[in-house]
Symmetry: C2
Amino acid sequence: MNVREVTRDDFDCIWPIFHEIVAAGDTYAYPRDTTREQALKLWLDAPRKTFLFEKDGQVLGTYYIKTNQAGPGEHVCNCGYMVASAARGQGLATTMCEHSQEIARELGYKAMQFNFVAASNEGAVRLWNKLGFATVGRLPQAFQHPSRGYVDALVMYKWLEAGA
Amino acid sequence: MNVREVTRDDFDCIWPIFHEIVAAGDTYAYPRDTTREQALKLWLDAPRKTFLFEKDGQVLGTYYIKTNQAGPGEHVCNCGYMVASAARGQGLATTMCEHSQEIARELGYKAMQFNFVAASNEGAVRLWNKLGFATVGRLPQAFQHPSRGYVDALVMYKWLEAGA
């Protein structure tokens, strides 16, 4: 598998993954009808870096890394990960999350925060727990799930420095 | 005291308040050296609405209201409040927060969230508690305080609907 930073020319291969996941409405805090143009801004322009993971010329997954809060919060980063439906169940989210933690350290971040994990997304919560993220907040009914109605959203957090 | 929505022409009166508070670095997640131009975008352009409170032609305080997370999170708003140093200790933060909750309900929001309250900002934490906000998250060492080093940041949350 090859890992590299995304260029704008790659977005044709990322958009179908983004669109499928966001249109489902059960994981990301983006409008379900987010357009391709908006997605390009959200996934490529706003973040500090965006990576893709590819095999045999197929994009299997992608993630972004950005600063979560400016000024007094700028030592904490935020990431978002997307796996192509054809590549699920193969540990790619783990691979991407571990890669993102290395990149975060290289960029000088001291912690990583996920702001809005739907509590109903149990697979993600279990995975982030396994990878060392603690649930540090629970936002009551903050996530409007397409079939379950209002569910809680979790804030998850990991300090990245060794020994801290 | 008069309350009204801010226009761009008002920013000359808001900028000194913004600059003093943000340059201190102990409350807002904005860079301490935020420029006037950046402040205008953050305080007037990015939010959904921005209000000011004035008396005898003097701006005493200002706040913004915006959607905190898009899509599945768009029923939760976020606000930020600033009080001019000359107007502190007169209950204006309470007045503004109560006003913002009314506006939030008018705009159709169901909850209000503060994402990043420095735990060292004890006066604010006490006030938000008094006004019905619960501490629903604690981000370890997420706030770099100018004199105390890394302190925790709190996530505070209030459901706005009556009876909920």
